[in-house]
Symmetry: C2
Subunit: 156 residues, 2 copies
């Protein structure tokens, strides 16, 4: 199934050998808007093809993360979650994270103002602290609607 995915030609050839597990992981992540954990990815893929191993999921995620094709988010419980990175600039977004159920909402609204301030701040911080800034993250923590209706706030 060559050329099936828009992202394939962008990624193939920059990733070592093109193997079934690597394609499967990229395919799965590219199709979902969820922020999947390694275990969740393993469960999904192992269901279809029991020959795939959890170790390879981790290795593949490491690889494509270090190459910048996905984005790794470390949750407050120490578990990592992953999301596909498109090549569109509009892909950039931040997160609302529910501290009770762990749900993650992406938002990319208000980007212009935010981006402007971020850039300005980056410049200033770079100079002042002689820090070479490569990336940033903005996260809001709180309760999603469902959890707010049910619950007492959890820890943070």
């Amino acid at each position: 199934m060559p050329g099936q995915h828009k992202w394939r030609k962008r990624i193939e050839g920059h990733i070592g050998r093109w193997t079934a597990p690597r394609e499967a992981v990229l395919d799965l992540l590219s199709r979902t808007s969820e922020h999947l954990s390694a275990k969740e990815i393993y469960a999904a893929l192992h269901g279809k093809d029991p020959s795939i191993g959890l170790t390879t999921i981790y290795r593949t995620l490491d690889l494509i993360n270090s190459l910048g094709f996905i984005h790794k988010i470390v949750m407050r419980d120490g578990q990592a979650r992953y999301e596909f990175r498109t090549d569109k600039a509009s892909d950039h977004h931040h997160h609302l994270i529910c501290t009770r159920c762990g749900r993650i909402i992406d938002y990319s609204e208000f980007e212009k103002e935010e981006l402007e301030l971020i850039k300005k701040t980056e410049n200033r911080l770079s100079k002042k602290y002689k820090f070479y800034i490569l990336d940033h993250s903005i996260e809001f923590f709180g309760l999603c609607e469902e959890c707010r209706l049910e619950a007492k706030p959890s820890d943070s």
Copy 2:
């Protein structure tokens, strides 16, 4: 040594029983500007008083974190670090994190503009996503001066 610390009267009485380990952890965190891990706190305190256990460090950190006296940051490697929270509003700050050596730099400059935008964004996001926002975090990732001079960028 009662009343020795400014923070003591703020905290004592909201923390269950006032025990030696709890005072020691609070004391240590209040004296440093570093972002210590549980292990580092354990090493420091166990050195002076070998009767203190790592378990208690974790439990104490959990307790005072959930009471809001310290702030817990989960690093990208999954390890948590903790910093004391003063009662001053000026305490609020964000982080520059070196992805190579793990060094954390606090910054609180440019807070006015940032805070303004954050508040506005919070309001909009709260409404749009019906999300009750309790906290936020802004982090910049990159290389500190020392690491930039030496190294090839690491993963992120």
